[in-house]
Amino acid sequence: MADNQVDNVANDANMSGKRVVRRFTCVNCPLGCDLTATVENGNVVNVEGNVCLRGETYAQTEATNPMRVVTGLVNVSGSEMPASCRTESAIPKALIPKCLQAMRSVELKLPVTIGQVVVPNVCGTGVDVIATRNIGR
């Protein structure tokens, strides 16, 4: 649980060029691998604990620019049930609140189809928010 708590140490160490070990819990799938990333001068030089390539990629971005897939709800005109949506791929973690705001500001029309674009290029990330539920089809 205390895994992601070494960020400050890591930042300080990066500046002084030290070798720092950082630990993360992989989020790409529910397996949740415990990853150990070795960071040298702000670059990830080694990743251990991953069972697939996604784990390695995740540790690298988590150490430099943490990314999240954001899932949310969108109102649909004429439907009591909201549509669900997600970013098509991960976006910077810091943009989650703005992304959720963008999802909230939309009202879709029926029918809603899985994969349809809900918010194009959300928060300037180049990533679309897409619908994940069919309604009224």
Binding site: V27, C29, T71, L73, P82, S84, R86, K93, I114
Partner: protein
């Protein structure tokens, strides 16, 4: 009305849908799924978060997307699904009574039945929390249904008891939607949820997780006003008198475990495994009643839907073979006698249960044994013993009760044995 079907599948969630498609692909045709709700997908419909399907589809989907793919596979094959259909009873002779608005009351005689009813959440009742009975107390899954399917936020100041995965996911959703999740209290010293979810749903949003705490009082007349939170003794797991503190809140969410929904199973006289709370099955997911199969959360509680689908497929294929191959049917009938032709699979040290509970002497290929551990074990080994002889030892850095563990063994290694034991060997806690 009376109906004859080859395979009746009870439940149109992940397990039932996968079972139907696999049974069809194995050659069965007269298949019907009875689904209680008006759309397929079961619990996946309300799980709008991502993280589903990496094993099955090699990509990361949300629950509704996963459900829609599984449902598409069923409709492409032209398999019938009866919606809003409640199965009222199941007999040991595979006779079902079903009601629905479109069919009315139907008696269904099936050659094979697949139990795919999923699970339900533990509620306030069995927790025996003292106090009033105000509005504002929900199970985490009910709150998830309200938010994600009805667009209703259950409350503003939320306290959660238990840290099961659904609860953790709902805590983040509430934080996303602007509610204040004050704390998650957890009676035991370990979480019932995946570490990944604790990091991503609580830590990321500054929601404290308090181990060895439980809720001992409920306050409020019409609406919940506060809960009393007490420290818990680690050894006895009981609240320590005199430690209660008042925490104001308008909503209490319970995320304290899932229970396989086996009322129909018991009604049909099929014995349950006390460890898994599901039917006792062989490696083909066949229960002790020949021709009745069980898969998914009704068999044992899963953490990954991908494995639910995999089990559903296994049960679907086996049911199709049972229906199409009379020799298989006879074998099953002969083998149902206690122990005849089977190795018994038992949980050993540190293991709560193992599925399957028995392995046929005719099993072929590799067999996946799935189980849950009782506690947190670090630097442990999973051991498989056949009649006392070790055939497998798998080192594990950590084993936790929140995650289902599995080990694969070659069927030839257990063939003809009487006892297969899965146990945990560990040094420390």
């Amino acid at each position: 009305m009376k109906r004859q079907v080859d395979i009746a599948i009870i439940g149109g969630g992940a397990a039932g849908l996968a079972a139907a498609a696999a049974a069809y692909d194995e050659g069965a045709r007269n298949i019907v799924i009875f689904e209680r709700e008006s759309a397929p997908g079961g619990i996946l419909k309300q799980c709008i978060h991502n993280g589903f399907g990496l094993h099955r589809f090699n990509e990361e989907l949300t629950g509704p997307e996963y459900a829609s793919r599984e449902a598409a596979a069923v409709s492409e094959r032209g398999i019938e699904i009866e919606f809003e259909a409640t199965v009222l009873s199941l007999s040991s002779s595979k006779r079902l009574t079903v009601v629905s608005p479109t069919m009315g009351f139907v008696e269904v005689q099936a050659k094979a039945v697949i139990l795919a009813m999923g699970s339900r959440e533990r509620t306030r009742g069995p927790l025996r929390i003292a106090g009033t009975r105000p509005a504002g107390i929900y199970t985490a899954g009910t709150a998830q249904h309200m938010i994600n399917l009805e667009g209703i936020i259950p409350g503003n100041n939320v306290v959660m008891l238990g840290s099961g995965d659904i609860g953790l996911i709902v805590a983040r959703r509430l934080a996303y939607e602007g509610a204040n999740v004050k704390a998650v209290y957890n009676r035991s010293h370990f979480s019932g949820g995946l570490k990944r979810n604790i990091v991503q749903c609580l830590d990321d949003y500054g929601i404290p997780l308090k181990f060895l705490h439980t809720i001992t009082s409920i306050y409020g007349k019409d609406r919940l006003e506060a809960v009393g939170v007490s420290d818990v003794d680690k050894a006895t797991k009981l609240a320590i008198p005199g430690t209660e503190k008042i925490v104001e809140c308008d909503t209490l969410l319970l995320s304290v475990g899932l229970i396989p929904e086996n009322e129909l199973t018991s009604q049909a006289g099929i014995p349950l495994d006390r460890g898994s709370s599901g039917a006792s099955v062989d490696e083909m997911y066949q229960t002790s009643t020949p021709g009745v199969f069980s898969a998914g959360n009704v068999l044992h509680i899963h953490d990954l839907v991908d494995y639910v689908s995999e089990e559903g497929e296994g049960a679907g294929r086996a049911a199709a073979r049972y229906v199409l191959d009379s020799a298989y049917e006879e074998d099953s009938a002969n083998a149902r006698e206690e122990g005849a032709g089977y190795s018994k699979v038992v949980p050993g040290n540190g293991v709560k249960y193992v599925v399957p509970q028995r392995i046929s002497i005719k099993a072929s290929g590799r067999i996946t044994l799935r189980f849950r551990v009782r506690d947190v074990y670090k630097d442990a080994k999973i051991k498989v013993l056949v009649d006392g002889r070790e055939i497998k030892s798998v080192p594990k850095r950590v084993l936790v009760p929140a995650e289902m563990a599995q080990v694969k063994i070659p069927s030839k290694d257990v063939s003809g044995s009487s006892n297969v034991e899965v146990s945990i060997e560990f040094g420390g806690e």
